[in-house]
Symmetry: C2
Subunit: 173 residues, 2 copies
């Protein structure tokens, strides 16, 4: 199981970026997202996309990050531009355990660095928690996210020109 914990989410200011974080989590193979702040609108947005595009991605907002970090039985990876080299660190993670990936917003409290088994950087330049999560999950799953079947009501058919969409029935058949 792979879960993502998004901390420091501010209603209004972070809604779009957190939605992007959640969609990356879903598309790149995670099973669930926890968001620190209660945000019903955010949950609705995420679930509305899941309903259309399929899969069993779960979302839960209003979580207590310290409690989640304390109770998590598997590995904890914190993505930060201050962290250790991605390619080196990823080899050290035991993939038989569940994984919690923590992504912050502006400022991340010190307890996150301390709770994490691995503080990992996706390059040491500033970019985005959205891109860091995507590249990390891409490397962690060895690209397997790409083959995941979602069986949604809406299915996009790859096409070099225009938009090809297949509409499936309720069960995505």
């Amino acid at each position: 199981m792979i879960a993502v914990l998004r901390i420091g989410h501010r209603i209004g200011r972070d809604q779009r970026v957190t939605t992007h974080v959640a969609l990356v989590a879903r598309a790149f193979g995670a099973d669930k997202i926890f968001v620190s702040t209660k945000d019903e609108k955010l949950e609705e947005n995420i679930q509305s996309i899941c309903k259309k595009f399929g899969g069993n991605f779960e979302s839960s907002t209003g979580c207590e990050p310290k409690k989640i970090l304390k109770q998590w039985a598997g590995n904890i990876v914190h993505l930060t531009m201050y962290g250790d080299d991605l390619e080196k660190s990823i080899l050290r993670i035991d993939k038989n355990k569940d994984l919690l990936v923590v992504v912050g917003s502006e400022k991340v409290p010190a307890y996150v660095y301390e709770s994490a088994d691995f503080n990992i950087s996706v390059g040491n330049q500033p970019h985005s928690e959205v891109s860091s999560l995507a590249i990390f999950l891409d490397r962690y799953t060895k690209g397997a996210w790409f083959l995941k079947k979602f069986n949604g009501k809406i299915q996009i058919i790859p096409s070099d020109k225009g938009k090809k969409v297949k509409l499936n029935n309720e069960k995505g058949k």
Copy 2:
């Protein structure tokens, strides 16, 4: 040369996501970003980060997308979830030519699909223009972004615990 064209940028609403797009462009090996709408605050933000973290990344806002697409002499790639398979398409791109990567916001006009030499999807699930650009540039550069030297005033030293920062002089030495 690799440039990114961000279209449909709305001041206020898209400022953070477009900033993330620009930072991903810079960190993953692009040389320049064009943004459709004039936004001085956005340019200031991007240039302030470049000043601190180094490199020669350029940004230009208030560009006319149709004109840029028409005048671009190299390849044009449009990233869209409706596009053709990433891994397959990327092999068809001639890397000896300059590259323009177009990323949209909510709704992308039809002329973009038509102007592009390649409409490419980073998976056919909804996620984010930020993650699509990162994964695309990662594949296009075969991970070479990771080795790029920026020689900035601020240099982050990879570390498994805490934050290690090296401050260089004006020339980043």
